[in-house]
């Protein structure tokens, strides 16, 4: 029985490195990963949608989780919020008065911020796959 061997070609390794750079760029700035791949429509849409979620979430005074969480839910929330990349810092500065989850609006804001982070991670993963040539 013939054995199948896979040999990594130099261009595969280069493409993989490029895909990782695209993914990290897409995580840091929503849409930048797709912009590097010249997918302008997707890049603009991702930037705007993640941006709207962050602005509205912070405007509703949602809870922006910190690294000093008390329990697992706080840690998970922090990871989700961190998914927005540099927009995490923007949300922090927009929420000058801090979170207020004593009313439903603040609670919704927390969900908006977490969703923005998770959505941006999905976008970065999509850009990574597109850069590897798997789908577009």
């Amino acid at each position: 029985m013939a054995e199948q061997t896979t040999v990594a070609r130099p261009q595969d390794s280069r493409r993989e490195t490029l895909a990782v750079i695209v993914a990290v760029a897409g995580w840091l700035v929503p849409g930048l990963g797709h912009a590097l791949l010249k997918m302008w429509g997707r890049a603009l849409t991702c930037f705007v949608t993640v941006g709207v979620l962050v602005i509205v979430g912070a405007g509703m005074r949602g809870n922006l989780f910190r690294s000093t969480g008390n329990d697992a839910f706080d840690s998970l929330g922090y990871l989700a919020d961190l998914g927005t990349g540099t927009f995490y810092l923007a949300a922090k500065s927009l929420e000058a008065d801090g979170a207020d989850v004593s009313h439903a609006g603040g609670d919704y804001g927390t969900r908006f911020l977490a969703t923005a982070g998770v959505l941006n991670l999905l976008v970065a993963l999509h850009a990574y796959e597109a850069a590897r040539g798997r789908k577009a």
Binding site: R42, T49, M60, R61, E95
Partner: protein, 64 residues
């Protein structure tokens, strides 16, 4: 004086905005052709709202 943003939107407005933004993002990521994107966005938005309102009504008997 506060320097931060302040939005006051109702529950329905929050749900509509959330559903619309996520549907648009999903539509652009999942489809390439503009017509397919529009179809996907409309269908996704409809399902978001249907399920959101449906769950709301399902919880109504237990709300008080």
């Amino acid at each position: 004086m506060s320097a931060g943003l302040a939005f006051k939107i109702s529950h329905l407005q929050a749900m509509l905005l959330f559903a619309l933004v996520i549907s648009v993002a999903f539509g652009f990521l999942a489809r390439r052709r503009p017509v397919d994107r529009v179809k996907y966005i409309v269908w996704s938005l409809f399902l978001f709202l249907l399920i959101g309102v449906g769950i709301g009504w399902a919880m109504y008997p237990f709300s008080r």
